[in-house]
Each structure stands twice: as structure tokens, then as C-alpha cells.
Amino acid sequence: MSTQIEHPATPSPTVGIEGSAVRRGDRVFQGLSRTAGIFILVTMAAIAAFLIWKAIPSLQANTANFFTTSEWFPDQKPSVFGIAALTFGTLMTALIAMILAVPVGIGIALFIAHYAPPRLASVLGFVTDLLAAVPSIIFGMWGLQFLTPQMEGLGKWLNDYLGFIPLFRNDSGQYSKSILIASVVLAIMVLPTVSAISREVFVQVPRAHIEAALALGATRWEMVRLSVFPFARPGMISASMLGLGRALGETIAVALILSASYTINWQISEPGGNTFAANIALRWNEAGDVGLSALVASGLVLFVITLVVNMAARLIIARRSEFSGAN
């Protein structure tokens, strides 16, 4: 009886059970969970691989320069298409959206983290999260039916008083289906992203920094500038870039607001403009074989752009891995 005492697997010094005494159940379970993790890497690689592979036929058929052409006639013979107008529209809408959304998003985050009474703050956090939960198609419908008439006044005002700036001039007299409206909707849609991540960083500012500033007689705004912003700067930058990533890839809301046109028009309150994502949704059903492949090619460009933006954002906050867009 005293000779055969079964010892439980002895924990290694690192507490883990990794080592020689790993049981079969452990091996199976670890293998499963590891496979799940690897599956994610494989998926990301597969997305890139399949998009490249299926984009090639159209790029070979294309008789125009893919990057500098604005037209989109991939199914014609000879096939002519390019992403110049799409790139312009995508960057322009996303840029204006960011100009509108970043200050407001950071303001909201500040309000919730440092201005609102704590009880109110949690409710307000929930409310901004709700904004993130509204499906994008609903934003698109709202933008088209509700926001468009409201924006006409702004468009006219910009044309009347700031019309000397080419960006704001409107020669067409029409103010619907414009890049400006799409940008405003995009700005509303990326607000929760920007504010949620900024907020996460703002509430982590060490209490001591804040109290030190206030004890020195700083006003609240001086406290924010002296202790909150310096601490939170990387978080704010990456919050903006994650928002940018979302604005670049938003599809349905933009597709509903803009009509598929392929001109580069700097006058943002006039109808026109198109983005990578919206173009894919709008052209999908009428596309032939080459057309589908061309849309895949444009999707590949979008994928690369968003990948670069997202990876840059992640690297900026690499040291603070707990801030993530997913939670």
C-alpha cells in the first residue's frame, strides 16, 4: 500500500503542466486550441492568396493602366478599367470623415472619462456603443432619406460663402448623392470606434498624474492637456487609424448614398464619387467573368490599404495590447 502512491502530475516550476508528464487529454486539448489559433493565421493568408489568384485574369485582360485609369468597363472587349477614381473617392470620403470624426470622437471620450459624473458616464458609454450596433445599411438608408435634404442647406452655404475654395464650389446646383454626405455618414459610423478606444486609454491615465496637475492649480482643461493627452497620445493615434480603417472599408452605407460614377470630382458637395467597397457592391450582380475578377482586383487593393492602416495602428499600440477594436 505504501509502495504505490500515485502522484498527480508534478507542476513544473513555471506552474504550467508543460513537460514530460503531459497527459493525453492535455495533449489533445492543447492541440485543438493551437489548431484554432493557427486557423486564424491560415485564414488571413488564404484571403490574400485567393484574392491575388482570382484577380490575375482581369489584370491580364485589362488593356488600360490599372492604377491611372478611371473608367470601369472590364467586361467590354477590349477590357478597360482602373482604380484611379475609386482610390480618389475612397481616400477623400475617409479623409473628410476622419476630419469630422476624430475631434468629436476624442471629445466624447474625454466627456465620458473626465467630464461627466461617473454614474452618467457608464450610461453614456452604453449609448455610444449602441451607435456602433446600428447596422450600416440603416445608416445608409437614413443618410439617403433623412440626411440628404438636411445637407442641402450646408452645401449651399459652403458654395455661397466658401465657394472661392474649389473644394466647396458647386456648379451643378445639385447637392444629393455627394461625397460630402457620404463622408458625414461615415464620420457618424466611425465615431464609436474612435471614442471607444480613446476612452479606454483615457480612463487608464494614472490617477496620480491627474491629481498632481490639479494640485498644482491646473484648470480641468490644463489637466487634460498636461496629464491625459501625453499619456494617451499613442492610443488616440491608433484609435483614429482604426477608425480610418473602418471608414475605408465601409460598403453598404456608401453604396446607398453614392451612385456608381467614375470621375474624379474635387467639388465634394456635387453628386458623384465612388469607393472601392461601394463599387464592389454596386457592380457585383451585373459583372461578367472578367468583371468579377476586376472587382476582386479592386477588393485586393482595398484589402492591402486597410491591412497597412490596421497594422500600423496595431504597431503603434503594440506595447498596450489590451486596447483592441474588438471589445
Binding site: 498527480p8 502530475a9 471629445g107 453614456l124 442647406g153 457592391a281 474588438a326
Partner: protein
């Protein structure tokens, strides 16, 4: 001291405060500035070319800023004037953000309520032309429930397993390279546009593997979209499970995998369920990947593996882009149903989170 009345004490405190903090605006100052600004804006509205609700509001806000800042500048000095300006700006951003949320919800509720009826919820669009009234979204509701359900069936276990690897196994692995890569690409994956995921499923499963476009291909796209959300939220929950619980279990000789299944996961269950529900709510409204990976059906199809199948987002898209009065109304009805579905999931997730959070030991 104790003989002072409350008023006198308050007065003496205020005197002391003023001596320390310098002159301040009276308490009613902000309210007075606001009232003055609104009154002035209304007068301008009536007498000059300032017109419209939006214009008047903008003028009132600008006037308020001007009055408050000059007054504060003269009484309190530059620093406090800037502080008040910043405070007003921060409050204003919040109202700016709240306005679209209220506007969107109000529009959806007002336009949607006029369409919702028992017929709308229990019939399909079979044999109903876009122009005519009637019909409903029953077929789309079935499609959404099935597609999202299948996506959750794949996505939730995969996500939880990945999170378990990252939290429970990776710290003891010989090399951290794999777990770093997984962690990084989970984050990057949250930023992949949904339309790109749709393109991937189409090129890989429809073009290459020759599957037909069906509810199932749609749910594959939704799986990929929900995966990173599940991983991140689960990971966060597992990390706050107290270490002592695991150690107590190991000390009793319980193998690691049983510890994870019987101790760690149950402790974090509430949070994991919340994360999964948020992920489901997030993909339930995705439209773009569905447009690319399914064909829309107007009638009921309860088999997600065969034939065209509708879903709420594609139903809304189809009705809205048909652009007749009747169909746009139906689209708003669909939007209301979709938003209620998403909000119920969202609210339930938050309630579960509140009552089942991991209690720190």
C-alpha cells in the same frame, strides 16, 4: 464657529475659496449666458437673414461661446476662459454624437412602425411585386436566424479555443512567436472590411470549390467576421480569472485541460457569453458579404445549404433599391425588425455581463 448658520458658513467658505482661487463667474453665469445667447439668436432670426432651425441653433451656440468667453476672460482671466471654452466644446461633441443616434432611431421607429403588422412578420415576398403593398419578411427572418446561427456554431467554439490557446497555453510554449502572430492577426482581422471577406468566400468556396451560393456560404463569411471579436472578448475574460483558482485545481492533481473546462471556463462563462452575443449582434446586420455570397430569394427557404436564401439585411437592400413606395416602406419595416433584433441581443449581452461578471478573488 458652531454658532454660524448654514448661510453664513457657505458665505465664509465662498470668501475663502475666492481668496484662494481668484474671482469666478457667479453660479448663474453660465445659465445667464445661455439664455442671453438664445434670446439674441431668436431676435436675429426674426430681424435679419438668419433663418431655419439649424442656422439659429448654430448662431445661438456661437453667441453663447462668445458671451461666455469674453465674460470669463474679463472676470477670471485667460486660463479660465480657455477652460470654459474647452468644457463647452467637450459637452458639445457629446450632443453632436447623440443627435445622429436619436435621429437614426427615431427615423427607423417612425417609418418602420407604420409597416409592421402580423402579416409583415409572418409572410414572405412570394408572388408579390415590388410595386404592390403587402408581403413580409418571414423568409428573411428565417434566413438570418439560420445563417447567424451556423456562423455562431463555427465562430464561437473556434474563437474560444483560440483564446484558450493564447491565455492558457501560449505563455508556457517554448516560443512566443506563434502566439504573438496569432494575437496580432486577430487584431488586424477585426479591421478587414466585410466586403473583402465576402470576396474571399466567393473566390475560395464558390469559384474554386464550386459550392453554390447559399445561406451556408453567407454564414462562412459571417464566421470569419465574428471570429476576432469572440477571441478578443474571451481572451479578456480568461485573463481576469484569478490565478489562485487554477493553482488550487492543479494542487488537487487535476489535469490542465479539466481545469480549463471545469474551473476556468465556468468562472468566465458570463463574460464569454456576453462577448459571443455582441459578436452575433455585430454580424447580424452585415449586408455586404451577404450580397456577394448569396442569391436573394423572395420565398421561404428553410434549407441553408441549397438554393437562394434571403436574410434581413439583403431583404432591406433589395426592397430599398427597388425604390417604389411600397418596397421602401417594407425596407424601413425590415430595418426596424433588424434593429430590434440587434438591440435585444446587445441589451441582453450587457445585462448578462452585469450580473455574471468574474468576481475577483
Amino acid at each position: 464657529m458652531s454658532e454660524l448658520t448654514r448661510d453664513e458658513r457657505a458665505e465664509s467658505e465662498e470668501l475663502l475659496h475666492r481668496a484662494l482661487a481668484g474671482a469666478r463667474l457667479p453660479r448663474w453665469g453660465i445659465a445667464a449666458a445661455a439664455v442671453g445667447a438664445i434670446a439674441l439668436a431668436i431676435i436675429l432670426n426674426l430681424t435679419t437673414s438668419v433663418a431655419g432651425v439649424a442656422g439659429t441653433v448654430v448662431v445661438a451656440v456661437l453667441l453663447f461661446l462668445a458671451i461666455q468667453t469674453t465674460w470669463s476672460f474679463r472676470v477670471e482671466g485667460r486660463r479660465h476662459a480657455v477652460d470654459r471654452l474647452a468644457t463647452t466644446a467637450v459637452y458639445a461633441t457629446f450632443i453632436v454624437a447623440l443627435a445622429p443616434l436619436v435621429a437614426v432611431l427615431a427615423t427607423v421607429i417612425v417609418k418602420g412602425m407604420s409597416v409592421i403588422s402580423s402579416t409583415f412578420l409572418t409572410t414572405s415576398m412570394r408572388n408579390i411585386s415590388p410595386r404592390s403593398e403587402g408581403g413580409g419578411l418571414y423568409h428573411a427572418l428565417i434566413g438570418t436566424l439560420q445563417q447567424v446561427g451556423i456562423a455562431a456554431m463555427f465562430g464561437v467554439p473556434l474563437g474560444i479555443l483560440t483564446a484558450i490557446y493564447l491565455v492558457e497555453y501560449a505563455p508556457f510554449a517554448k516560443s512566443r512567436r506563434l502566439s504573438r502572430a496569432i494575437s496580432f492577426f486577430v487584431d488586424v482581422m477585426t479591421g478587414v472590411p466585410s466586403v473583402v471577406v465576402g470576396l474571399f468566400i466567393f473566390t475560395a468556396f464558390v469559384l474554386t470549390l464550386g459550392m453554390e451560393r447559399s445561406g451556408f456560404t453567407a454564414s462562412l463569411a459571417l464566421t470569419i467576421l465574428m471570429l476576432p471579436v469572440v477571441v478578443r472578448s474571451t481572451e479578456e475574460m480568461l485573463r481576469i480569472v484569478p490565478r489562485e483558482l487554477r493553482e488550487a485545481s492543479y494542487a488537487l492533481g487535476i489535469p490542465k485541460w479539466r481545469t480549463i473546462l471545469k474551473i476556468v471556463l465556468p468562472t468566465a462563462l458570463g463574460g464569454i457569453v456576453t462577448g459571443a452575443m455582441l459578436a452575433i449582434a455585430r454580424v447580424a446586420g452585415e449586408t455586404a458579404p451577404l450580397l456577394l455570397t448569396t442569391f436573394l430569394s423572395q420565398s421561404i427557404n428553410t434549407n441553408p445549404f441549397k438554393g437562394p436564401q434571403a436574410a434581413l439585411p439583403t431583404f432591406i437592400w433589395d426592397q430599398f433599391t427597388s425604390a417604389t413606395d411600397a418596397s421602401v416602406n417594407r425596407a424601413w419595416g425590415g430595418a426596424l425588425v433588424l434593429i430590434v433584433l440587434v438591440m435585444v441581443l446587445y441589451g441582453a449581452a450587457k445585462i448578462i455581463a452585469r450580473y455574471t461578471g468574474v468576481k475577483r478573488g
